[in-house]
């Protein structure tokens, strides 16, 4: 499968290890990401005001790139756009829904982007986890070369993969897709309360105290539920749960740090890919001592 791929800004900087590990793990499964040419920032958050059509321009412009790519023959999975970042997924997908619900908006958007080819509303936005589910978790099992069976993992879904319901990739309250993935990687997913509790998102800019309090609750809930580490698919959740442990530790000296990995890093570990692909030096809390103590690295 060759599928159009939208990286988004953060996957080219602070979450480069997310992108690298995803691309290489996907290759092992016969899935090739073909990066969109000339993609632009999606805007990160979806515009919620009824009259705000303007901020749908950025997401829709990326969807036009998909149509161009299809014409070029560079991909064979037409009409779908693959995302890794949960926020990009949410924003791009919500724009596709807005166009479906308010057809007149599409005319406004096309008029505004008069230099572009008209967008026809046909592209579907998908998350890599959905592609993995579609491809079959058994296929993942076949690629596992390094057992993770001693590893207890808290799957952190956050908000943007699940809510609102019309864009969610799984049940908003009782998601299982991460659990299925982790099980197929031979790891043990734990059941826990805070799996879909908000990390505070962009409040991390002007309300660090709130974000670190939310983080403390999420991280300690994972630990009390028996987790060795946490996996996520959102670079903003990753920052709030991983990097913000610095503030949490200052406030709660007894707090024991816990590694937060992208799910694709775990795939790279289980598939025994190169250390560079795993990108474990990209995480704020170093996961190597834990993985070594479990005999995985």
């Amino acid at each position: 499968m060759k599928i159009p791929y939208y990286p988004g800004c953060t996957l080219k900087s602070t979450a480069k290890h997310f992108e690298n590990s995803a691309i290489e793990s996907a290759k092992a499964l016969g899935i090739e990401f073909v990066e969109l040419p000339k993609w632009n920032c999606c805007g990160v958050v979806t515009p919620l005001a009824e009259d705000d059509i303007m901020h749908h321009v950025a997401p829709v412009r990326n969807l036009i790139r998909v149509l161009e790519m299809n014409k070029s023959g560079a991909v064979n999975d037409e009409k779908r756009l693959l995302t890794l970042c949960s926020m990009c997924f949410n924003t791009l997908k919500r724009s596709t829904l807005r166009i479906k619900e308010k057809v007149d908006d599409l005319d406004v958007l096309n008029d505004f982007m008069y230099k572009e080819e008209d967008y026809d509303g046909s592209v579907e936005v998908v998350h890599f986890l959905e592609i993995l589910r579609e491809n079959g978790f058994d296929e993942i099992k076949k690629q596992v070369k390094k057992s993770l069976e001693n590893l207890k993992i808290a799957p952190y879904y956050g908000c943007m993969l699940l809510r609102p319901k019309d864009i969610g990739i799984d049940d908003a309250e009782r998601p299982t897709i991460f659990n299925d993935l982790l099980t197929s990687l031979s790891a043990e997913p734990i059941e826990w309360r805070a799996k879909n509790k908000c990390c505070g998102s962009f409040l991390t800019l002007d309300n660090k105290e709130i974000v670190s309090r939310l983080g403390y609750d999420i991280l300690t809930n994972a630990q009390k539920s028996g987790a060795d580490l946490i996996v996520t698919s959102c670079p903003l959740c990753a920052f709030n749960l991983d990097n913000r442990q610095k503030i949490i530790k200052q406030k709660h000296p007894e707090f024991e740090e816990i590694p937060v990995l992208y799910f694709t890093q775990l795939m790279a570990i289980a598939f025994d890919l190169d250390k560079e692909v795993m990108g474990l030096d990209g995480n704020y809390i170093n996961p190597v001592p834990l993985l070594e103590s479990k005999g995985i690295l």
Binding site: T10, A15, L48, M87, G200, S201, F202, L214, N243
Partner: protein, 134 residues
Amino acid sequence: MPKTIVLDKKSVDFLKKITDLSGETITLCDQCGTCSGGCPVVEDMDITPSQLMRMVLIGDQTVMQTKTMWLCATCNTCTVRCPRMLDVSKVAEALRQVTLRQSINKVKIDEISKEDLSELPQIALVAAFRKLTS
């Protein structure tokens, strides 16, 4: 003594403005409190999400002076749980927009520290600018 709520033209206009901007039929809210019960940041707010809905419903413009709308991170927990299928995050956005469209910014970009600028991922900055600046 029961409190009398007067729906004058100003309050009716305010409700209409927020209804139009949010696209939500705010009068459907029956104050069950589910949104407030599930909100992850409710303890940091000065009024709860359900109080916010009530204030808008009765056209009480003092809601504009509360900080609740600025603490909504659009996590949509309330959205998926509302038994009336209302989206409180859209009402919060409408209230934010009333302020932001007067070119009043909640976050001053030139006051962000160098440390924050160097360590925050772009999605944190862009999302905050989109929600908290005009």
